[in-house]
């Protein structure tokens, strides 16, 4: 593969799109021939970021748009998940393990911790009233020759 392979996916902030987002990212990354574990890590991190955009960014309202950008360069997958939702006031607090602003929804407060642990690089930026952007990167070790 010469050059990079890129995709941008935007979809309505509906919970039924969480599974769709995972499948789409997994299908895009499958060209690197990741292991089952690597694929599961990626799907979990994407699921956390997309769920956060839907629940927290858009407060469960279905008319927002969530955007995923993915890029494959060599053996590295970069993923950005972005919303134009309400943003995060205190990023340091939000990133604490077990912190959640929505215990009423039985959130575990583990989303950011999981993204950080399951990916090789992780960063959040957010502007209250404007939205939130998650940037993550993971190296896929098991790059084998493609069949075709």
């Amino acid at each position: 593969m010469n050059g990079s392979n890129r995709m941008v996916l935007s979809f309505s902030s509906r919970s039924e799109n969480e599974a769709f987002a995972r499948i789409a990212v997994a299908a895009f990354v499958s060209q690197l021939d990741p292991t089952v574990e690597e694929l599961n890590d990626l799907k979990t991190a994407v699921s956390e970021a997309v769920t956060n955009a839907i629940i927290h960014g858009y407060d469960g309202k279905p008319d927002g748009m969530v955007t995923i950008e993915a890029r494959i360069e060599g053996d590295a997958v970069s993923i950005i998940v972005r919303d134009e939702g309400k943003g995060i006031e205190d990023l340091e607090l939000a990133r604490q393990p077990l912190f959640t602003s929505r215990p009423d929804l039985e959130r575990s407060g583990m989303g950011f911790t999981i993204m950080e642990n399951f990916m090789d690089e992780f960063d959040v930026s957010s502007e209250p009233g404007k939205g939130t952007e998650i940037r993550m990167m993971k190296r896929i070790e098991s790059k084998k020759a493609l069949y075709n």
Partner: protein
Amino acid sequence: MRLHEEMEQYRNVLIVRLKGELDHHTADGLKQRLEDALLRGRATHVLLNLSGLAFMDSSGLGVILGRYKTVTARGGKLLVCGVGPAVRRLFELSGLLKILALYENEHEALGSLEVVS
């Protein structure tokens, strides 16, 4: 793939076998169905069999922790079996591993209760 569950009452234990993907979209319905079953039935303990789960994220941790609270508040135990490496890692990260009673399979989990009660 969505989430389905199979529920079975065995003595005073509600056995719940999950199949499919447990995420935020499917967690809400599961929570409702579990709470309903606990309210209607006469189960003291709950045994969650996760061996059929193809995917789980932190929304699953939330439902499990929530049921842990309901069940222990009523004097029962929440037992979990069929935990694969991916879910185990989520339990570890979140500290749930320390409070949950994990078993290999349903047989071992049910056996542990017979000794206790």
